[in-house]
Amino acid sequence: MTLEVIDVEDWDRPLPGNDPLANEYFRLCAAGTLTIERCPQCRSAQHYPRGICMSCGATPVFEAVSGLGTVYTFSVVRQNGVPPFKGMVPYVLALVDLDEGPRLMGNIVDCEPGEVAVGARVRAFVMRANPDVGIPQWRLAR
């Protein structure tokens, strides 16, 4: 499914997409498609993209996911000396288990930190840093 994509002016956070596989992953995100890697051989799913199946060694392919997940754990970061995060505290850093299996990091935004809980359902959207790089992010699924 296609995710909501929000263009972010003047992206000042670290910019990913700096190798061929990551470039493809974040380009797909920029188009509103969150993906995992699926192995055509053994059907294993994995994130982040590696170009080799961690289970069997075959070559996996990108597969679109629903963008729905569950908070595995999180923290409210209240101190970070690194700009621009220094100016963003407090913010929620979380590990999200996709309904399709793999786990990934993200921020949960557009809510009070106190509303976030382990086990909460979340929905992905995309912050687009530039036309070729979209960063998946999360909101509580209400």
Binding site: P14, H47, S75, V82, F85, M88, L93
Partner: protein, 390 residues
């Protein structure tokens, strides 16, 4: 009886000046720690034929790379190890050194560490150190993931899954601080209470400032040789009874389960090699980058069941006079954490097994376990050391 001749022992230990040493750079720490380990052991420098150093890992901090360290220290090594696994590197390296001594690849190996982290970068490691978006970090760096947040997320999950409380974690910091009071060099020595920990500012929920380790300068050296050679040296030998190591992930988002560690895999390996069980251990040196790190190591190494770490701590087991005294040098939480704490675990365990720990001495200490944790609860190295051979 050639095999007995090759029994590996720790024969020398040395610490450089800490916790603040603006007069030393990383190289200076290495040199001073080595000199002190030589003096401690009576080993002649020219007899060292093996060197292990964990390589530099913070951009902009020079001075730890293996071949240049060998050159700088003037060690003509037939055996070199630059294994880097973060904070557990020196437990991984002790495993390699143990095997090398047994196999005869080298006769006297020194593990060396030195860091001027506090002097060079201040207290930035946990909360002000950003990693560049390359490799696996492309999937984490855009989100603002300071080191402390990984451990906070582990603590949060443990609390959710097992009902572990902030008070229980705080008691770890309180107990380690009691030992720091006995160490004149420790960074923080004033007694603290659970309320002090809970009242300190929240850095990353649920971890407070006093759940986090100190940032210091410091260095250490550990000399390993054969039992036979150690007979002619100054100190009683400390036996390497069992070592093991394991990695479950590196990046925190790749951790299969943040409520446990690779200690659940490495621990049984190390105990099997030693022919011992957790109940045989008299004291532990557990990596205390954060309070939660100790709790997860305690559980995963089998000192208590998964989820029972909080109650185990609450019962006072880790305190002075408890059943399993922990981090008797004041730990990373209160004494010394210059970036990689692994070598200090081995040094304090050795001091305890020599019976030379002064006011912090654990009575009748026969077996000590050191467990390093590297990265984000990623790489666990376990060293079981003893006063006697098996």
């Amino acid at each position: 009886m050639a095999r007995e001749d090759r029994t590996p022992v720790i024969c020398g230990i040395g610490l450089s000046d800490y916790p603040k040493a603006p007069h030393l750079d990383a190289r200076g720490h290495q040199a001073q720690a080595l000199r002190r380990a030589l003096a401690d052991s009576g080993v002649r420098k020219q007899d060292i034929d093996g060197l292990a150093v964990a390589e530099a890992w913070i951009p902009g901090v020079p001075g730890s790379d293996l071949p240049e360290t060998a050159e700088f220290l003037g060690i003509d090594a037939r055996w070199l190890d630059g294994t880097y696994t973060g904070g557990s590197a020196y437990e991984f390296q002790l495993q390699h050194a143990e095997a090398a001594i047994r196999e005869g690849l080298a006769h006297t190996i020194v593990l060396v560490y030195g860091s001027d982290l506090l002097t060079r970068l201040g207290r930035s490691l946990g909360t002000a150190y950003g990693r560049p978006p390359i490799g696996a970090q492309q999937y984490e760096a855009p989100y603002g993931n300071p080191t402390v947040a990984a451990y906070a997320m582990a603590a949060q999950r443990h609390m959710y899954q097992y009902g572990t409380t902030a008070e229980q974690l705080a008691q770890i910091a309180v107990g380690v601080r009691e030992y720091a009071a006995l160490n004149p060099n420790a960074m923080y020595r004033d007694p603290i209470t659970v309320d002090d920990v809970l009242g300190s500012r929240m850095v990353a929920d649920p971890l407070h400032l006093l759940d986090c380790c100190a940032i210091t300068d410091g260095g250490g050296a550990v000399i390993v040789t054969t039992e036979e050679r150690a007979r002619d040296l100054r100190q009683p030998p400390v036996y390497i009874l069992g070592t093991a190591a394991r990695q479950t992930h590196w990046s925190v988002s790749q951790a299969p389960d943040l409520t446990t560690t690779a200690g659940a895999l490495a621990g049984p390996d190390a105990f099997a090699r030693a022919g011992l069980a957790p109940k045989d251990v008299d004291m532990v040196m557990l990596y205390d980058s954060f309070t939660i790190t100790c709790l997860l190591l305690l559980e995963s190494l089998g000192f208590c069941a998964p989820g029972e770490g909080g109650a185990f701590v609450e019962a006072g087991n880790l305190r002075k006079g408890g059943a399993l005294p922990m981090n008797t040098d004041g730990g990373g939480l209160s004494s010394c954490h210059p970036g990689l704490r692994g070598i200090f675990l081995l040094i304090e365990a050795t001091r305890q097994l020599r019976g030379a720990a002064g006011d912090a001495q654990v009575p009748g200490c026969e077996v000590a376990l050191a467990a390093g944790s590297g990265g984000w609860l990623s790489t666990i190295g376990v060293s079981i050391l003893g006063r006697s051979a098996r």
